[in-house]
């Protein structure tokens, strides 16, 4: 009996071990060395030197800050927008499947294509949007200083709001109907019923959705690579991009791994705190 169970699990566990576990361990080892892609011979073990360097590197913290801002803006806007669209889709009667399929499409497109599309679309000379804005007298440089990070956040919103819609729609459809009818009879206005009945019952799904999306948004790379390459200056240098540069462009793999683990540590702490809070409120 147990043999069967473990037998069934074996392929997944083995693959995960090889594809995830082993590289993870090896990455940790790398982060403790001064391995450079260009160096011959075995790397020297340098202990926590990389970590110390990285943690005191202003550029790394800048990247981290940029990423945090990006995630905060993008996920907040996506959640509100996603909820509104999910509510609207739920009540929709005709052409449901077509509308849903169309509205969900962006999340399936390869992010680099999305990035390049918007790079093109928002380009000062060749893009349609700046042209339209200019025709009504507004001049706005989408990828200019102070604007670029915000623009990237909105690219994220364009591509990933559908994901929020998907999760929230599933959540809305799993809320029992009758309490909502009872609320109508009990005198609640549509807004009151939403605030006091729908939203509380939607909270578990909302939390999962925000969590998943935030984790994903942290990894933002393609949009930066497609548009600003970290610029202007280091304004849009996100953590993933910074790691890429350190490792691939400057070949400092040891350091790059250390950066990645710092990020991992921060994210895991965040998740653990979040889950503790969730468990506590579930027990209440």
């Amino acid at each position: 009996m147990t043999r069967f169970r473990w037998g069934m699990l074996a392929p997944v566990l083995a693959a995960t071990g090889v594809a995830v576990g082993f590289p993870l361990a090896y990455a940790f080892y790398l982060s403790l060395t001064d391995y450079k892609l260009t160096s011959r011979g075995a790397p020297d073990f340098v202990g926590l030197e990389n970590y110390l360097f990285v943690l005191s590197d202003a550029r790394m913290w800048n990247a981290f800050g940029n990423t945090a801002t990006y995630v905060a803006v993008a996920v907040t806007v996506q959640t509100v927008l996603g909820l509104a669209i999910a509510l609207a889709l739920q009540k929709q009667q005709w052409a449901r499947d077509v509308t849903r399929a169309m509205l969900l499409a962006p999340m399936f497109i390869t992010p680099i294509a999305v990035g390049l599309t918007f790079r093109f679309l928002l380009n000062d000379q060749l893009g349609a949007i700046p042209a339209v804005l200019r025709s009504i007298g507004i001049s706005y440089d989408f990828f200019g200083p102070s604007n670029a990070l915000l623009t990237l956040s909105f690219i994220d919103v364009w591509q990933w709001t559908p994901f929020m819609v998907l999760l929230l729609l599933a959540g809305l459809e799993s809320i029992p109907r009758q309490p909502l009818e009872a609320a109508r009879v009990d005198g609640a206005s549509a807004w009151y019923a939403f605030r006091r009945v729908v939203l509380p019952l939607l909270t578990p799904v909302l939390t999962v959705a925000v969590l998943l999306r935030s984790l994903d948004a942290l990894k933002v790379f393609e949009y930066v690579y497609a548009t600003t390459r970290g610029g202007p200056g280091t304004e849009t240098e996100t953590i993933q991009f910074f790691t890429y540069q350190t490792g691939i462009q400057f070949f400092r793999l040891g350091e790059a791994s250390a950066v990645a683990f710092v990020l991992l540590a921060i994210v895991l702490t965040f998740i653990v705190i979040l889950f503790r809070r969730l468990q506590r409120s579930a027990a209440r």
Binding site: V12, D97, P111, L116, A190, V205
Partner: protein
Amino acid sequence: MTKGVNALAAARILLLSAAAVVVAFPLLWVAIASLKSPAQLNDPGLILFLPNLENWARVLEAGILNAAGRSAFVATVTVAFSVVAGSMGAYAISAYKAGGSATRFGILAAQVLPPAVLVFPFLTMAYALNINNTYVPIIFAHLSFVLPVITWFLIGFFDAVPRSLEEQARVDGFSRFAAFRLVVLPQVLPGIGAAAIFGFTLSWNDMFYGLILAPPRETILPVAISAFNTFRGVELGAMSAAIIIAVVPVVIASFFIQRRLVQGISGGAVKF
């Protein structure tokens, strides 16, 4: 009172229409751009013109279809393995609660890992094992995020199959694995289909691992697209055509699975 209801209905339709426009506009514009000549591209407002297939020729010539083929190959292998291993694993987790609830969270935790963490080990291991000129590293890298997602997704579908079905099969004389294969698996086929398409899309869309781990000179599609984004200047027309090639198959696939996606997610994610 019905006036209030009508105002809400109007707002709803407005929102959905606006969303539809926002979604469609960039893609349509790119599609139109792919048919413009370099001179025409300088005029963003130009919509009515004689379409020009120059860009498409250029893109095909540059081997975009080969890149697409490589992406498809990597995605297919990744998904094939993920579906087989994932369905077996998801079944074990669903039926026997193998690993407990920690497993479900654990799988999700694998999604937390930034690719930046894993890519360098893959790279160095590839060099060490001298397989850096093959597709092996990139397939394993893709497995690292496709396998957990597919497994997690399928758990919900397996949960929905009543245990009594298998028990009946086993009483009737089938071995455990045969019961799984002949009775349970057919029930979750729609879910597997959706998971496969979803996984394929994830793999097809990846650029980060592809950029670093694909065999040199044998780029995968997303990287090939960005190749038109050179420092000399973007070859907009060709790039637009490349974007459309990358986008269309995936959008079509999404039409087919959107309903199953909602089902699968209701089965899995919502049960936290």
